[in-house]
């Protein structure tokens, strides 16, 4: 029995037993290699579920839909390891109750999709440890290295060119499980911290602030990168933030559900090489 079959059966079982009220999974998309989220509410519908190596989106973003979990009932969701980390962060930040989330975990390696044992976020603690060392894909890493080697002026020009493309559609924000604020800072107009019209300065500010708000919280699912209609390599900037919090503070985002936010805590002996 393939993984898709196995998880369809499991979803049907969860729904028919009443263990969950909803299964958030993947379904067929507009092209053969695209998947879209599907929301399955009865065992009869499980045939809509698809699970293969094209299922890359981090579906944890749907858990923060307003009111979804407020009735105390459970929801099952298909998640890769990055999504499990997101659930941990959302639990740590009190946005979801981890007891209500049944995880249908899976991993993608090349063409292979394999199930991950465990159904609660806490079951994946050993997996988290092994993920700490995970980095960018080789091609993204090459791009990151190339950027690091540039002069500040060149880097500024690189990002200016990238951010100039931004149309402030906020797809990056929409797709991100960490963007659960009821009012985003970009929508604050008293005072108007970020220029909202889409000129490069405002785009610069928006993208910098979003990256800062993701520092120590990004799980590198790549959702923003894929969602961006103008192909800004957002993953690079978020990766740089994650690298900083990991290297300097030993903080691996989403390691566990009781992790404290990296910027709301401190150690007296935090390094401070740059302070005069």
């Amino acid at each position: 029995m393939g993984i898709q079959e196995q998880y369809r059966n499991e979803a049907a079982e969860l729904l028919s037993s009443g263990a969950v009220k909803l299964v958030i999974g993947y379904g067929g998309g507009s092209t053969p290699d695209r998947r879209r989220p599907v929301f399955v509410r009865s065992a009869e519908e499980v045939s809509r579920l698809v699970l293969d190596s094209y299922c890359v989106a981090n579906l944890s973003a749907y858990l923060i839909s307003e009111g979804l979990l407020s009735d105390g009932k459970n929801v099952a969701v298909f998640l890769k390891p990055d999504g499990i980390r997101s659930v941990n962060i959302l639990s740590a930040e009190a946005q979801v109750n981890p007891d209500q989330v049944v995880i249908l975990g899976f991993n993608i390696e090349g063409e292979q999709t394999t199930p991950l044992p465990g159904r609660k976020a806490a079951d994946y603690a050993p997996l988290m440890e092994s993920l700490r060392s995970s980095g960018l894909s080789p091609e993204l890493q090459r791009e990151a290295d190339r950027l690091e080697q540039m002069s500040a002026v060149e880097r500024f020009d690189y990002w200016k060119e990238q951010f100039a493309k931004c149309i402030k559609c906020y797809a990056c924000r929409q797709v991100c499980p960490m963007c659960y604020c009821r009012r985003c800072i970009v929508d604050v107009n008293q005072p108007q911290w970020i220029n909202t019209s889409s000129h490069t300065l405002g785009n610069f500010e928006w993208n910098i602030v979003r990256a800062f708000h993701l520092a120590g919280r990004c799980v590198a699912c790549g959702g923003c990168d894929r969602a961006c209609p103008v192909n800004i390599p957002l993953r690079l900037i978020n990766h740089r933030m994650s690298k900083e919090t990991l290297d300097i503070f030993g903080h691996f985002p989403g390691e566990s559900a009781d992790q404290k936010p990296v910027l709301a805590t401190f150690r007296q002996d935090d390094p401070e090489t740059f302070i005069l």
Partner: protein, 656 residues
């Protein structure tokens, strides 16, 4: 519409000689929103302030910028002037064009440009200032003192004598603390119990003090002026109300061989006991774990003996909830477990004891009635070796600090021994003699010169038993030679450490602690008796190692702080505090974690039927100190700080 008044001060020549004040006034008068501007020689003078007040009244000014000296100098002066003219005092900003401009620059054109920019940016800020009112917090004028040692007793007496109610909570069956265990005290050599027990009695008899012994603080809720403390009164199995303290039950109790904690195990107690003869209150407790009745269901001899029927085996722990306005934490210290020091043989050799043991041996009310006798065979020791810094100042054993009292009590021990055993010999291994304090150095000199205390500067590397003697091997670093002493008894000046549950207790009541577990003061130099949690104060060795004079002084200081707080029915605080926007707060609780003062709580917003709509962060203005750490953390900009709001700072920066 904003009507801002700008007042440019010459400060004599201090400002006017470097800043073109006329140009500053002309330029700023054209700035949008500026309704009035003027310059004067000294605005801080009486006529100067009158000018400001008159201008506020006549022009109906909505805000004021005084371009003058540092706000650290005259902010209060001009706030007062504003208030007198009917303007909210927080509608004022000071543009610092003296300390941070005229005094530090040499080019008049550049200095003037800078002064204009500074003033302009503060005009932009003050346009967005809000009327603020001082925060009033009601104060319950009753204090709780946690810990009934000498510090706690002193704090309680001082507060009570000033006419305020105090609840003194002690977890042992008697108040008195470590001081009750001591023999004589340095540098005066007066007997510890002689000076302490009258204080204990005074405390328990004071009409304003309620003493709760055998009781533990379980939970502290609330904030300055308004704490609710849950206290567990442990079952004593003896009725406090009727017991006369005759002691018949203790005499008759068949379980007699329980090592007494008070005697450091050098003496025994019964299962129904008072820790020491002068215990206050003089009401015994039954040690449930050792009592034959509780173990086997048979005995009850104490009950049969008691003529007034004061034994009650049915008693239960009782939880009491108490409302207090201030808390003094005086939970004291412990002596380090010397088991860490294998090289000193503690635990292996009966005659290797700690300083506290020695206190009991030297105490007239102790197990040997004040005779210095070896625990192993009851013989009088001919030679005693004292090892100072047994634990202290030793990072390898986890105690980097100096325990502060050991130099003094070791000198005292040498003296007491010399007074009691005239032919006895003392050898004291020390690192430094630290005897700073009134009469302290004189005291150690006396030990050396009059009582022949033999000081050896150096550490001990090994200690072993041979032919009934303790062989102490060390080094004399002044002579640069190894030393070997044959001793009959060895006294370790063990480190003073926090109570074993100090950290856990700190978390329970919401105060901070250092790497060891000593409690953190709000500021080591300027606020040494306050904690970072407003309304909770520190006294005694729970903060850091202290001797009796320091503990008592700090206790009185803490009492003064409490009485200051209790001097008014309402507590007035600067309104520079944070507040949360309920509609946008996402409830991530980052601010709750980040707040250094535990001033932010979770609050439920419910509909009219009590159903939960959402949970948001909520700042307690009684606890908030106004640092603004939460504001910078909040991703959705849902917290703001009065006086330094996002709008104000934005305007100030954009006004530059």
């Amino acid at each position: 519409m904003a009507k801002i008044g700008v007042f440019v001060c010459h400060c004599g020549e201090n400002i006017a000689s470097m800043v073109d004040t006329g140009k500053l006034v002309t330029t700023i008068s054209e700035h949008p929103g500026v309704a009035f501007s003027s310059e004067y020689k000294y605005f801080c003078s009486d006529p100067g302030q009158e000018t400001v007040k008159k201008a506020i009244r006549e022009n109906n000014l909505t805000g004021v910028v005084v371009a003058a000296c540092s706000p650290r100098m005259h902010e209060q002066t001009f706030r007062k002037a504003c208030a007198e003219a009917g303007l909210n005092p927080y509608m004022l900003e000071l543009a610092n064009i003296r300390e941070q401009c005229s005094w530090v620059h040499t080019d008049k054109i550049q200095a003037t440009d800078k002064a204009i920019e500074i003033t302009r940016s503060l005009v932009e800020k003050v346009k967005r200032n809000n009327n603020l009112q001082p925060i009033s917090v009601p104060v319950t004028r009753r204090a709780m003192v946690i810990g009934g040692g000498v510090a706690g007793i002193q704090a309680a007496l001082d507060i009570a004598s000033a006419g305020r109610e105090v609840i003194l909570v002690e977890r042992e069956p008697s108040i008195g603390g470590h001081m009750a265990q001591l023999s004589e005290t340095f540098p005066t050599l007066d007997c510890s119990q002689c000076i302490l027990t009258p204080r204990m009695v005074e405390a328990v008899q004071h009409p304003n003090i309620t003493v709760m012994t055998y009781s533990e603080v379980e939970e502290v809720d609330g904030y300055i002026g308004n704490f609710t403390v849950k206290v567990r009164q442990k079952a004593r199995y003896v009725k406090m109300e009727t017991c006369t303290g005759c002691g018949d039950c203790i005499q008759k109790c068949p379980v007699k061989k329980i090592p007494s904690d008070f005697e450091c195990g050098l003496g025994n107690r019964t299962a129904i006991y008072t820790p020491f003869a002068q215990a206050v209150p003089n009401v015994p407790v039954i040690d449930r774990d050792r009592c034959t009745y509780f173990k086997n269901g048979k005995c009850k001899i104490c009950q049969k003996t008691c003529q007034i029927d004061s034994i009650d085996f049915e008693q239960q722990d009782r939880m009491v909830s108490l409302e207090v306005g201030a808390i003094v934490v005086a939970t004291g210290f412990q002596v380090q477990n010397t088991a860490l020091y294998g090289e000193y043989g503690y635990g292996r050799y009966k005659d290797v004891i700690t300083g506290l043991h020695f206190e009991r041996l030297a105490s007239a009310s102790g197990p040997t009635a004040g005779k210095i006798l070896r625990p192993s065979d009851g013989k009088e020791p001919e030679t005693i070796v004292f090892l100072q810094c047994a634990g202290s100042r030793d990072a390898a054993k986890g105690v980097k600090y100096c325990s502060k009292i050991c130099c003094m009590y070791t000198a005292k021990h040498a003296m007491l021994y010399a007074h009691k055993v005239h032919h006895g010999k003392t050898r004291i291994f020390y690192m430094d003699i630290r005897a700073a304090g009134k009469g302290y150095d004189e005291f150690t000199r006396r030990a050396i010169e009059e009582d022949q205390a033999g000081y050896i500067r150096g550490r001990v590397s090994k200690l072993y038993e041979e032919n009934g003697k303790l062989i102490v091997r060390g080094v004399d670093t002044l002579l640069g030679k190894p030393v070997e002493v044959e001793a009959d008894m060895v006294v370790l000046a063990t480190a003073m450490i926090p109570q074993p549950d100090a950290k856990e207790f700190a978390k329970r009541i919401g105060i901070g602690y250092d790497e060891y577990g000593f409690y953190n003061e709000a500021h080591l130099k300027l606020r040494p008796v306050e904690t970072a949690t407003a309304g909770i104060y520190l006294a005694g060795a729970c903060q850091s190692p202290k001797d009796i004079p320091d503990s008592v002084a700090q206790a009185s200081a803490a009492a003064a702080k409490v009485l200051g707080l209790f001097s008014k029915e309402q507590l007035e605080r600067e309104p520079v505090v944070a507040s949360v926007s309920d509609s946008t707060c996402a409830g991530c609780w980052g601010c709750v974690i980040a707040c250094p003062y535990n001033a932010i709580d979770r609050r439920d917003i419910t509909d009219r039927n009590g159903n939960l709509i959402k949970r948001v962060a909520s700042v307690n203005p009684g606890l908030c100190q106004g640092c603004g750490t939460c504001v910078s953390f909040c991703r959705s900009n849902s917290i703001d700080l009065a006086g330094f709001t996002e709008k104000q700072i934005f305007a100030e920066v954009m006004g530059l």
